[in-house]
């Protein structure tokens, strides 16, 4: 620890109504180093960074940059004083061009208010050349793939020539080659003497790129350690606050006969080209693959949320159509969508409404009037069966944790009495502890004789929960593996088959 401290955050606290988001947190970043900030979802990493960047105002504590106390009131002030940030959510003006986005907030001007396109072109090219980014500056943002948009965002943060650069989960949508590219950029910045704050959930990345690691838990500071010599197990232990010996519950389900047979399913407008597979009663079937390989499309085409172009679906020997979600639900399918907040929950409505919304017909009296009593009973059943922690049925679902929200939605689908459950990233954005409960629920469902198809980008999770795994690659099924006798390497090889 020979480099001087560039940024010091001391005793930072921040309270939101009802939640203490940050409680006396400290962070010291040395010049010319990469400092990883780790913690479970909701540990307060992003909140801490937003306090630094002037998006939130801290309640107490001090921040000093190069020995000078700072307290930014806006992002603009932070950027002007040498603090830049790559935000977790891609915040871009999609209808505008790459260069318009790059210079947003600081357009090169002539005569005070007229934007100089020529200067903008030149400076954009300079930055892209230095960073080795090959994106057309004149392209409209919405026409670019997500990974290129992410690279533009990274280039933008770097172009402020800042002393401190925060990367909040920058690799979530990057390909492996692009991650390498990003690491080269980060190393370049480190050599220039910048202080880098790097937030990520990917342990291998953290251990590779960072010099120091600070761990947070429940809004509190836990520890800061040099990355050298730190192991994954140690980090998890510090993050969770206990040792995670069993990440997965015992697999007690016994797959039976085939109930669902899908032949040559393809999407009309989407990238799914050819999917053929079977699902057994009481089985958990995993769907693996890289981002963009057509994993989600398998579920959404099967469920009728996307338009199919050929292929057959046979349930119990009878061919079915599943032309729309409504029809699929009638046929005994249920889909837990990938983006819980966007397409899963009705955030401002209460637990009860979120629970009964897919099975409203069951609660009608005389075919007209919804029975509050019946709805309350079924919601209570779901809360008990799913072990949902909520003050009451009348609580807004958005105030629950991600894990509890997910359980509410699983409960919602169970009330439609499905035979085939399609789960898209069922543990995304859920704490490590709560993940175990979701895994247990999935295995319990299989035990009850339901067929489960589960898409996940986390391979250990597929290996730990599924019976069989199909691997998608370039919109096709590249192969099928037995979860007990396979390895991450085998799955990765299959995933690269049609790339």
């Amino acid at each position: 620890m020979d480099q001087p401290a560039l940024l010091e955050m001391r005793g930072i606290s921040k309270e939101f109504p009802g939640v203490k988001a940050l409680d006396n947190v400290s962070l010291t970043v040395r010049a010319g180093t990469v400092h990883a900030l780790m913690g479970e979802n909701g540990a307060g990493k992003s909140t801490l960074m937003k306090c630094l960047f002037g998006i939130y105002s801290k309640d107490s504590g001090t921040i000093t940059l190069e020995g000078k106390e700072i307290d930014f009131k806006s992002s603009k002030e932070a950027l002007e004083n040498g603090v830049a940030m790559v935000h977790q959510e891609l915040n871009q003006a999609l209808t505008r061009t790459v260069k318009d986005n790059l210079w947003l907030g600081r357009y090169p001007k002539v005569g005070g208010f007229v934007v100089s396109e020529a200067l903008m072109d030149k400076k954009t090219r300079e930055i892209f050349d230095t960073l080795g980014v090959s994106v057309n500056p004149k392209a409209v943002m919405s026409t670019l793939p997500v990974s290129q948009r992410q690279m533009v965002e990274i280039a933008k943060a770097v172009s402020y020539d800042s002393k401190i650069i925060v990367f909040d989960e920058p690799t979530s949508s990057l390909t492996e080659a692009e991650v390498e590219h990003l690491f080269r950029i980060i190393n370049m910045l480190r050599d220039k003497g910048c202080g880098i704050i790097y937030i990520s959930h990917k342990m291998d990345e953290i251990l590779r790129i960072s010099d120091d690691v600070t761990i947070m838990r429940d809004g509190q500071y836990v520890a800061t350690k040099p990355a050298q010599g730190l192991t994954m197990e140690e980090i998890i232990k510090l993050m969770v606050g206990r040792e995670l010996t069993n990440r997965f519950p015992p697999k007690t389900n016994k797959p039976g006969d085939v109930i669902l047979d899908v032949q040559h399913m393809a999407g009309k407008y989407t990238r799914l080209k050819d999917a053929t597979f079977q699902l057994k009663k009481g089985e958990v079937l995993g769907v693996a693959g890289l981002d963009g390989s057509g994993r989600t499309e398998v579920l959404e085409n099967l469920f009728g949320a996307m338009t199919r172009q050929g292929g057959t679906i046979t349930l119990h020997g009878r061919e079915i159509q599943n032309r729309s979600p409504k029809e699929s639900i009638k046929n005994g399918f249920a889909l837990l969508t990938e983006e819980r907040r966007a397409t899963g929950i009705f955030g401002i409505r209460d637990i009860r409404e979120n629970t009964v919304i897919s099975s409203l017909k069951e609660y009608l009296i005389g075919g007209v009037c919804l029975s509050d009593k019946k709805m309350a009973e079924q919601t209570e059943w779901s809360i008990q069966a799913m072990h949902i922690k909520t003050p009451s049925q009348k609580t807004q679902i958005r105030s629950l944790s991600g894990g509890n929200q997910q359980k509410v939605i699983i409960g919602r689908w169970l009330l439609t009495k499905p035979e085939v459950l399609l789960l898209d990233e069922p543990t995304r954005g859920i704490d490590v502890g709560a993940k175990y409960e979701i895994y247990q629920l999935i295995i319990d469902l299989a035990n009850e004789g339901k067929g489960v198809i589960m898409v996940s980008s986390e391979m250990p999770e597929l290996l730990g929960v599924c019976d069989r795994i199909i691997v998608m690659s370039g919109g096709r099924v590249a192969g099928e593996v037995d979860a007990k006798n396979t390895s991450q390497e085998e799955i990765l090889t299959l995933a690269a088959k049609y790339v």
Partner: protein, 354 residues
């Protein structure tokens, strides 16, 4: 099927799809051309010079307000107060520029003010209305629909009170000074219409062209314009990039307000007799023109060219329906249909098929 024939089929499918897309993307213009041709066949004076000058003049009169409102729509908002703001500034402009000899002169104390002063007053009043709207939208996060709905009502009281002030007693404000009417409706270029007569192009056409050029410059060449589009496309992105969201929003509404003020000044002289009902529903025509011209309620999308075309198309249709002897009762049906059709076509571009 052989590989080649499959490829051929795919190619054929692709090109049919492209043709359909091309036709749908330009359906509005195609239908408009058909309509113009049909109307011209029914009544061959439709495309005569006099009629064309008339269409041009009407377009010029409605254009500035639409250019202003377009900015509000780019911010995913709208502005319902435009009509009343135009009414108020029209009445004020007219009352300040009445003939000194008129028995009905509203303000006897003052003579006839210089034209530039009155333009400035009208645009300033409009801008104040805009700042008021923008302030509530930006600071209190109210939807512009709500804010401008309220503003529009508040302005109507001001308007009703204003026409009862001075010597006016709620009468129509007319007897305008010739310096005013000449400045707005006068002409220095006429188009010959055959048999010795000619159709003069009124001055306000040139003003509209000037304002259009100015707005194009502001939208495309200034930081303010680029910030406006970024804000409309993604407010959060603009905020974290250091754009002053509050000031930009207020400025967009203020600019729109100034445009209503100018429109009010023109309408005062163009109409000649100004009452509390002057400007009524102008905002609806302006919004309709914007959406027809592709300024999308999705936000962050729109071109000055589109606004001009939108206003022109609406005027073309109205004049055309008259020429084709369509009963006036049907006009609104046609207008409603066009708005629905145009917006459905517009949304088509942003829909992602799944």
């Amino acid at each position: 099927m052989s590989k080649e024939s499959k490829e051929l089929q795919a190619k054929a499918q692709w090109s049919t799809q492209r043709t359909v897309d091309l036709l749908l993307d330009n359906a509005l213009y195609i239908l408009m051309i058909i309509a113009v041709v049909v109307i011209q066949i029914i009544n061959n004076s439709f495309l005569a010079p006099a009629s064309l000058v008339n269409i041009l003049s009407q377009t010029a009169a409605y254009l500035p307000a639409a250019l202003g409102i377009a900015g509000c729509i780019v911010l995913t908002g709208t502005d319902l107060s435009a009509g009343r703001a135009i009414g108020l500034t029209a009445c004020i402009s007219a009352s300040l520029l009445q003939n000194v000899d008129s028995a009905n002169k509203m303000w006897t104390g003052i003579g006839t003010l210089p034209i530039p002063v009155v333009i400035l007053i009208a645009m300033l009043i409009g801008a104040v209305v805009g700042v008021f709207n923008g302030f509530f939208v930006a600071k209190f996060k109210l939807h512009p629909f709500i804010v401008t709905l309220a503003t529009q009502l508040i302005l109507f009281t001001f308007l009703l009170s204003y026409v009862k002030m001075g010597n006016n007693n709620g009468m129509a404000i007319s007897s305008l000074d010739t310096s005013y009417t000449d400045f707005v409706k006068g002409s220095f270029i006429s188009v010959p219409t055959g048999n010795g007569s000619s159709a003069p192009i009124p001055n306000y056409v040139w003003f509209a062209i000037l304002l259009t050029a100015l707005m194009w410059f502001i939208w495309n060449k200034t930081t303010f314009g680029k910030n406006m589009f970024a804000l409309g496309a993604n407010e959060e992105a603009a905020r974290v990039s250091g754009v002053n969201v509050v000031m930009t929003t207020i400025a967009v509404f203020a600019l729109a307000g100034a445009m209503y003020g100018f429109t009010g000044f023109i309408e005062g002289a163009r109409i000649g007799t100004n009452t509390a009902n002057t400007g009524l529903n102008y905002e609806l025509d302006a919004i309709a023109a914007c959406v027809i011209g592709g300024v999308s309620f999705v936000g962050g999308i729109g071109k000055i060219r589109g606004v001009v075309i939108g206003v022109l198309l609406l005027r073309l249709i109205f004049v055309g329906l008259n020429f084709a002897h369509v009963p006036p009762d049907l006009f609104y049906l046609v207008k409603g249909g066009i708005i629905l059709f145009a917006c459905a076509l517009d949304m088509r571009k942003y829909l992602v098929k799944k």
